[in-house]
């Protein structure tokens, strides 16, 4: 027996308090006066003795209470021989993340896991867990050796990015309510890049003894990978040097300086090969231009020549869709003549968009069919012909997107077409004190900016003189003015979206068109509204694709995986909202809105860094939960003990003593009051 926090034993000095109160302090008793004692006789029961006994009992209870509280803080424990292996659970965690594809790592890990299962005694219950992009529990706790072996043997290397933090979180939830201690054996390459930002996140539960089985020991092998590919998802003019190019970055991890050849493959055919000098542990970029791709979807790969043990990451997949420039319908109000100039110029200047603007007055839109356009822009056009507005609503419900800019006409005509609510109010700011853009949601595709600077991605310089106040219910507010007025809102309607800018595109209501951020905004919002980002390009493994926007839609969706097989069952094809991209390669997707897409999926490049966790960190992780690993016990050659903390029982006892003391002192106080 011992104490985990013996310093708290100093609190035993507090025992002096009940000693002083009960034994040192004189008790004052108040005798009761009577006129004469001539009719009284001394009682046979000594009240003083009775009280003294009561005092002693109370003193003992109070002293015991102090003692127990101090003991609870000191956290006493007893050492017990660890439960026999049959009493401990065996948890086999097999790392099947992308990096395990390197060399023979995965096979080694699988072999070691099977050996561990073979050592298991027949009655010991075990569980097999796969650690990939997601933590998968492959079996329930069972002592069925056949089931456990087949679970290990059937596990295949995945393309996900492992996270030890995710593993610890899953184990914590698995261990909830279980009192049986467990031995966890992790068969992994113990990749450093799989560590979470905080070490505390990967600490195992207290009753889980972690043993690491590192399958790739020694210094990390050199590895080159295609770090990133910068290519347009959609291209209209293959001869446009600004658009028609692909920049491939080659990165080396723990690699010497080397000359690597990079090939660009389009639909399986090598169209170009270039040499690039990759510095030691650095990156180099090579550009392929022009991209001579055919109309429709093109499955492109950037591939580097071999030479390292991790061949799987030598290729990067991306899709390019070639089409004629799409038309954008721009409807403006009667008095709004400048907006078309500013918006059209920005759209033309955008590097990645390939759209042609068709501008017309809102009043003349009666015969137009919105479905012929990539998206529709309403600039200060608050009054639409009813037939066209109806068509526009159908267009949005079926997956079309509309951008609405509210100019000064919104102040006179409160109704906003399509939006479903009216203009509540309008704010006019003076030229001397214009409103500024306060908050911007850079995570939205229409405003995406990975690292906005101090100028709020350029938005901080824009001055807003006029803005309409609209109902922001059921919408995502993408930008706000510094007085809280929503500036840009996104509302999902059916399969489509409506973006609402509460100010205009001209330079009368704001000076936004005069700033460079306007071009970037028009470019990104145009791509978002045209759906180009969803239809091609590349994604990361373990990301999700939104198949349908609304719950009401029952149109079938279809997903063809890299093996050219249907990834969804018939039931899922009718109901699935999203799809999990869990493998590298090309996915073909048919959305509920009727559009098609080809998406190239690549593994997280953190998996390409094969550097293992430092040895001291591994030891710290294995011993971080306070338990002793079996390995240490085996080395010491002594029986394994475990400390069983008794503080909970001590506190329970203290609670009982408190109740007894309360009852006794309560009755004593009641007696004193009656006597008084």
């Amino acid at each position: 027996m011992g104490f985990l926090a013996p310093w708290f034993l100093g609190g035993l000095l507090a025992l002096g308090v009940p000693v002083f109160v009960h034994l040192l302090r004189r008790h004052v008793t108040v005798p009761r006066p009577v006129g004469s004692l001539m009719f009284f006789e001394r009682g046979t029961q000594s009240s003083t003795k009775h009280r003294r006994l009561k005092y002693l009992l109370l003193f003992a209870l109070r002293a015991a209470l102090v003692l127990l509280v101090v003991l609870a803080f000191a956290n006493p424990f007893v050492k017990r021989p660890a439960a026999n292996p049959a009493g401990r659970l065996l948890m086999i965690v097999l790392d099947n993340s992308y990096s395990m594809r390197a060399g023979t790592r995965f096979n080694d890990a699988k072999r070691e896991a099977l050996e561990m299962l073979a050592k298991r005694t027949g009655s010991q219950r075990a569980q097999v867990i796969a650690l990939g992009g997601q933590v998968q529990v492959l079996t329930q706790l069972t002592d069925d050796g056949t089931q456990l072996r087949s679970a290990v043997e059937s596990t295949q290397p995945g393309d996900g990015h492992a996270s030890y933090g995710e593993l610890a979180r899953t184990l914590r939830s698995l261990r909830e309510g279980s009192r049986q201690p467990a031995d966890l054996h992790l068969f992994s390459d113990v990749q450093k890049s799989a560590m979470p930002a905080s070490f505390a996140d990967m600490v195992m539960p207290a009753d889980v003894a972690l043993t690491l089985h590192q399958v790739a020991k020694g210094s990390p092998t050199e590895n080159w990978t295609v770090g990133s590919v910068d290519a347009p998802a959609e291209i209209a003019d293959v001869k446009d040097p600004k658009q028609s190019r692909a920049r491939v970055t080659v990165t080396g991890f723990h690699a010497r300086a080397a000359k690597k050849s990079v090939s660009l493959l389009v639909n399986g055919h090598v169209v170009a090969t270039k040499q690039v000098d990759v510095p030691e542990n650095g990156s180099a970029t090579v550009e392929f231009a022009p991209l001579d791709v055919a109309y429709g979807f093109n499955r492109c790969e950037a591939r580097i020549d071999g030479g390292d043990s991790f061949a799987a990451d030598d290729v990067s997949y991306f899709a390019i869709r070639r089409s004629d420039p799409e038309k954008v319908l721009f409807l403006h109000g009667i008095g709004d003549t400048r907006s078309e100039v500013y918006y059209g110029s920005a759209l033309a200047a955008a590097a990645r968009a390939s759209f042609t603007l068709q501008s017309t007055s809102a009043a003349a839109a009666n015969d137009l069919d919105p479905s012929r356009f990539a998206f529709v822009v309403l600039s200060d056009a608050v009054s639409l012909p009813s037939i066209f507005e109806h068509n526009l609503q159908d267009y949005v419900q079926k997956g079309g997107n509309v951008l609405i800019a509210l100019g000064t006409a919104a102040g006179h005509h409160a109704r906003i077409p399509l939006w479903g609510s009216d203009v509540k109010n309008t704010h006019s700011y003076s030229a001397n004190a214009p409103a500024m853009v306060g908050q911007v949601d850079f995570t939205h595709p229409a405003l995406q900016d990975a690292q906005p600077g101090r100028d709020n991605g350029g938005w901080a310089e824009a001055k807003i003189f006029y803005a309409a106040q609209v109902d922001a219910a059921n919408t995502r507010v993408l930008a706000r003015l510094n007085d809280g007025t929503p500036l840009l809102l996104d509302r999902a309607m059916g399969e489509g979206h409506v973006l609402l800018l509460t100010t205009g595109f001209d330079n009368l209501t704001n000076d936004l068109p005069l700033h460079p951020v306007f071009v970037a905004f028009v470019d990104r919002s145009a791509r978002y509204l045209a759906g180009a980002e969803r239809l091609a390009g590349s994604r990361m493994v373990d990301s999700f694709v939104t198949l349908r926007s609304g719950n009401a839609s029952t149109a079938n969706v279809e997903v063809i995986d890299p093996d050219a097989k249907r990834a969804l069952s018939l039931e899922e094809a009718r109901t699935a909202q999203t799809f999990h991209l869990e493998r590298t390669g090309f996915y073909s997707v048919h959305f509920a809105s009727g559009r098609d897409a080809v998406i190239g999926v690549n593994a997280n490049r953190l998996e390409s860094d094969l550097e293992p966790m430092p040895q001291d960190l591994q030891q710290l992780w294995a011993g971080s939960n306070g338990g002793e690993t079996q390995e240490k016990a085996a080395v010491a050659g002594v029986a394994k003990f475990q400390r069983v903390s008794l503080w909970w029982w001590v506190m329970l006892l203290a609670l009982l003593v408190v109740l007894a003391e309360t009852a006794l002192s309560g009755s004593y106080m009641a007696t004193q009051r009656e006597d008084a």
Binding site: T29, P31, R32, P33, V34, G35, S36, L37, M38, F39, F40, E41, R42, G43, T44, Q45, S46, S47, T48, H50, T671, E674, D675
Partner: protein, 296 residues
Amino acid sequence: MQRFLQPAVLSAISSLDLLAKTVVDGFVAGLHRSPDFGFSQEFAEYRAYTPGDDLRHVDWNLYGRTDRTYIKRYRGETNSQLTVLLDASNSMQLANADVSKMDYARYLAASLFYLAIKRQRDAAGLIVFDDEVREYVRPSARAGQMARLLAGLEHAEPRARTDFGKPLHHFQQLLHRRGIAVVVSDFYEEPDLIVKTIEPLRFHGNEVVLFHVLDPQEVRMELKSASVLVDLETDQRIEVIPEYAKTTYRQKMQTHIETLQSKARAAGLGYRLLLTDQPLDHALREYLTLRQMGNV
């Protein structure tokens, strides 16, 4: 409306004079409705005039009709003498109820004095004693006597122990004229000794009445738990258990009261038990009864 004020209410009246007036006026007002008692100067008898009689009492109307001189006598004209013997020992300061036994005795004495002097024009005197005579106010009906008596009561603070022998012996020497002697005490003494000590007062033709003043708690003692009791006179302490107080003590006290009452009555002494939570009218009624008996 309450006819007689409770002692607890009386304790709020600081002036003994006013207190006595309040008690007695209320009491007398009640008597008018009672057919049993009459103490006003009602006609009693005619008696033949004898030389030496006061000529003011001759019924001259009768003389005019019969040519004989008769003296007209009234009931109330016979003056009596009231002497209150007040026990001021320490045991009288016990106050479990709203008023202490000493205060209750003071109210009682003051009310008797008021009734005697103001209403009956009797002489009244006071002897305050414990183990000796501490205060003596000679009986008198003169003006200012009431103030002297009340001052004597005010000064009577509980002190020392009770000893009936010495003060009563002194009292016997002081009594030269028959009257009513009222002994107010808690009588914590053997009944035989009390009666034996007080009985000689009867020999002088006095009507003697014992007002036994006790606290209600003394009669119906209750203890919640074993307690230490201290004797107010001797300062002796003993521990007593509730069962004893509830059974044996009550029996002993009851026996004491009954014995004292029977022995007093046997010796021709009046006896009245007064608890400090009772109104004072019992005592006043007793006094008037005795006085009437004496006159008749």
